[in-house]
């Protein structure tokens, strides 16, 4: 996924910001915190998962998404968000 596709979407940036802070959450909670509906949150999460920025873990019927700290791009994004948040 090109970088402009990641940061041009408000929804994706919100999701990334939430997951860098909380580390892991289920879709409903991500959608609630990001102010998105379930389907939109799901689409964004799938895209972010394909880009390797988040990872999904399945527990029975429940899917938990977590920020992929193992991915170097994800680590850079996390640093970028943290920097942005602290120097408002």
């Amino acid at each position: 996924m090109p970088i402009e596709d990641v940061i041009s979407s408000k929804g994706r940036v919100r999701i990334l910001r939430i997951l860098t802070e909380i580390e892991e959450l289920n879709i409903s909670e991500i959608a609630r915190r990001a102010g998105l509906n379930y389907a939109t949150a799901n689409q964004h999460l799938e895209a972010l998962e394909n880009a390797g920025l988040v990872r999904c873990k399945r527990f029975g019927r429940i899917r938990i998404f977590r920020f992929n700290r193992e991915n170097s791009r994800a680590r850079i994004i996390k640093k970028f968000i943290e920097e942005w948040e602290t120097n408002k």
């Binding site: 909380i22 580390e23 959450l25 289920n26 909670e29 029975g60 019927r61 429940i62 938990i64």
Partner: protein
Amino acid sequence: MYHHFSVFKNESKLDLNYIPTRLPHRKFQRTLLNQFFRFTVENPGEMTQRVLITGNVGTGKTVLSQHFGLDITKEAEKKEINLNYIHVNCRECRGSLFMILQRALLNFHPHFPKRGYSAEEILQILIQILDEQNAYLILAIDELETLIQIGGSDTLYKLTRVQEARLKAPQRLSLICILREPRYLNKLDSSTRSTLQRNIIRLDEYSTSQLQDILKDRVDLAFKHETVSTSTLHFIAELASSENGDARYGIELLWRAGKYADASELSEVSPECVRKAVASVYPLVQKDVVFSLSSHEKLFLLSLARCFKHSKAAYLSMGEAEQAYAVVCEEYNEKKRGHTQLWKYIKELSALGIIKTELSSFGQRGKTTYISLPRVPALDLEQELAKILSTENRRSNTHAD
């Protein structure tokens, strides 16, 4: 700022949740518990264990288990074994297996969704997590009575037999069940009972001299030098002994007596302070029991306390109680619960021995329940509840901020 002398050096050592490093007069039981769970640090995954700890109120059941939990996890850490000890109180979980397992689960995944799955699913998820993290869990289920009463045999059966379907997989979940009365086990079916009754640790009531040793330890930790005399200590131990050897009651008395000494600006805890403390502690309705009630149970109890405070009558009808509760809900800005829910609260409070209920006599039109407050002074109960509720309010406001 004016600052007067305090008899305390560290009153947190008298907190009900404090786990002391030494457990006087429980050495044998502590060793026994260690023996039962030796395999968790020697051959983890080879087997699981179920241990039952029984004994009266204040005989050290909870602290024994927690003490063991702290030690065994430390030992496992040294051997790089991912062993977890989780202590869950069934009463706080309203006897729900779902809530008990959820607490355990949240320990591994703090943001796991709180709804949307069943107790059976959560049990499977918990095992899956343990497998993935190569972790082992000792789940201590305190006040098992509530789980037995509400869930019956099935819930415990599920917990005790979860490993059976995983014959070749590592055994990961062990249980410590803590309950006051072994007779509750008779409510279980024979197979569940036999699984649980294999290893029982019975804790007898403490004698006066044993209580004195326990209290002496706490005095050394919590009070300044020479602020509690041996005779005062003995006095408290005698009082706790007369309450069925309840060490928790003795520790609470000790703390309160210290508070009265501080309030009177005394340099020593006098027997008079202890007498004042006795009047303010209700052995039959302890602070932690009131504390563990749900917020609406507390509001309901507060409304009863207020009614009794102003009333000369010994009994209150259900209708009067409902009206008083509605007023209290309005005051605390809470949506009042319905009649059926209140009825459940009455049952719960009555089971805890805080209130007593009676059905109206025959010959009267209709049928109503009469409520009385047999042991606790209404004024004291009101103050205690108001204090707890205002702390909770403050806490929730802070969280909201």
